[in-house]
């Protein structure tokens, strides 16, 4: 079963940290990524550029309205995701809990839909 682990954080918080503290955080992420790669559970993942660079797109009555990201002041933003394939939901939750952002902000575990199915 594939799960997407959505990472939410506030970049301003980390920017206020000492470089040493930030490096320790990155080191934790690297170690966990290495572990998930070696276990064959890591399927993919991306970090997202700061949300202030985002563009919000809406089409209403055929008219496109695109606005720059309004998130500069937001507290928590979607910062990235990783996709893992694990045998149980509990394991996906365990991985999310070990991701450092879980200690300061929020991780969200979502099951990924697939195109297989059983007729009923």
């Amino acid at each position: 079963m594939k799960y997407m682990l959505l990472i939410y954080n506030n970049p301003a918080t980390y920017q206020a940290w000492s470089e040493e503290a930030r490096n320790a955080l990155f080191g934790e992420v690297d170690a966990l990524m290495k572990e998930l790669t070696e276990s064959g559970e890591l399927v993919g993942g991306e970090a997202l550029a700061d949300a202030s660079n985002a563009v919000i797109v809406r089409v209403r009555d055929g008219v496109r309205a695109a606005t720059d990201g309004p998130y500069a002041e937001a507290k928590e933003q979607l910062a990235g995701y990783l996709t893992v394939e694990c045998e149980t939901r509990e394991r996906a939750v365990e991985i999310a809990a070990r991701w450092p952002d879980a200690r300061y902000f929020t991780m969200e575990v979502r099951a990924v839909m697939n195109s297989s199915g059983t007729e009923m």
Partner: protein, 416 residues
Amino acid sequence: MTVPAATGDLLRELAPQVLGAVVRRYGHFDLCEDAVQEALLAASVQWPRDGQPASPRAWLITVASRRLTDQLRAESARRDREATAALDPAAAPVAPDPAEELGQDQDDTLTVLFLCCHPALSGPSQVALTLRAVGGLTTAEIARAFLVPEATMAQRISRAKQSVKAAGARFSLPGPGEWDGRLDAVLHVLYLIFNEGYTATSGPDLNRPELTAEAIRLARAVRRLLPDDGEVTGLLALMLLTEARRPARTGPGGALIPLAEQDRSRWDQAAIAEGTALITGALAGAPLGPYQVQAAIAAVHAEAGAADDTDWPQVAALYGVLDRIAPSPMVTLNRAVAVAMAQGPQAGLDLLAALDADGRLAGHHRLAAVRAHLLEQAGQPAAARDAYTEAARLTTSLPEQRYLTARAARLPDRTE
């Protein structure tokens, strides 16, 4: 690269035999497995171009052995450079039996299969290693079939081989005391491979249905080696009888068509005839097991020319047997469907109450979906609609969600 079908079939049949021969001679299952893959690749390029060698098996063994000895030499040079212990007898796990020279007449397919399904490995690792070492598929092909990046699958295979090594597995058939358990694991892996392919719906991932053909091919190979085992025959029959329905189980765009609404003229009659003959033979002679019962259920469905002709009391009785010899909440759930068809929806709903109390299927979409169907049959459309909606919310399958949402939408909600 496309390899002519005949060459591809031959290579995949020979893959586990060649691997067995090389492991018997040199040990080092993990390194041999890589060497055999390289030999298979070389053959797939050279044979179509230069012609097939007189003895394809000997050719592959020679090429794989050469790759392996090159690699062992490189490893040993590296070890010398690192100035570790001069000779490490433990460096050759899965030790070869000196009495067995090349093993020219021996078919090691079963031994390789047992090794790939070793209990030290996780389920997904067993599946991946089996497809590569026994099925002769490349890592890229397996990754495509399981919808993960090639690097992820390569890592799983490499880890599986490390686990085999770490477990100190012997390259021999399991002894009598562990035979049954180990064979169960092998059959379960073949069943998982089949199911992965069977549940794939048409769509962008057209490689996946090939997994059913591969699972059937491997089940046939095991049955050739163990013709008297009822469960091996039962599994092959179950696969054939299930696969027979595949042309009818999806509609345009991969929409799922329930069993009751399938166009039965599209069922594969040759597969049904073969599967029915196999299961009939097994039931007559072998001790009963869960795959045989499941195949018998599939055979009852297959012999009904129309959904209304289905012998539901027979299906319900068979699920009763299955629930006794291999109890699981999923079996009880299927039994509830059959009981409802045989005795009316309320009898089925009563069985679901037991599952609710049991709790193991709590939050499972199949429980909600069955409840929805039974409530609909019982003439309770509003409750059925709620249950369909709940099932649609719980499933992680897009085609199932689409089907369940459509069923819900056909029913009036409570306010109408």
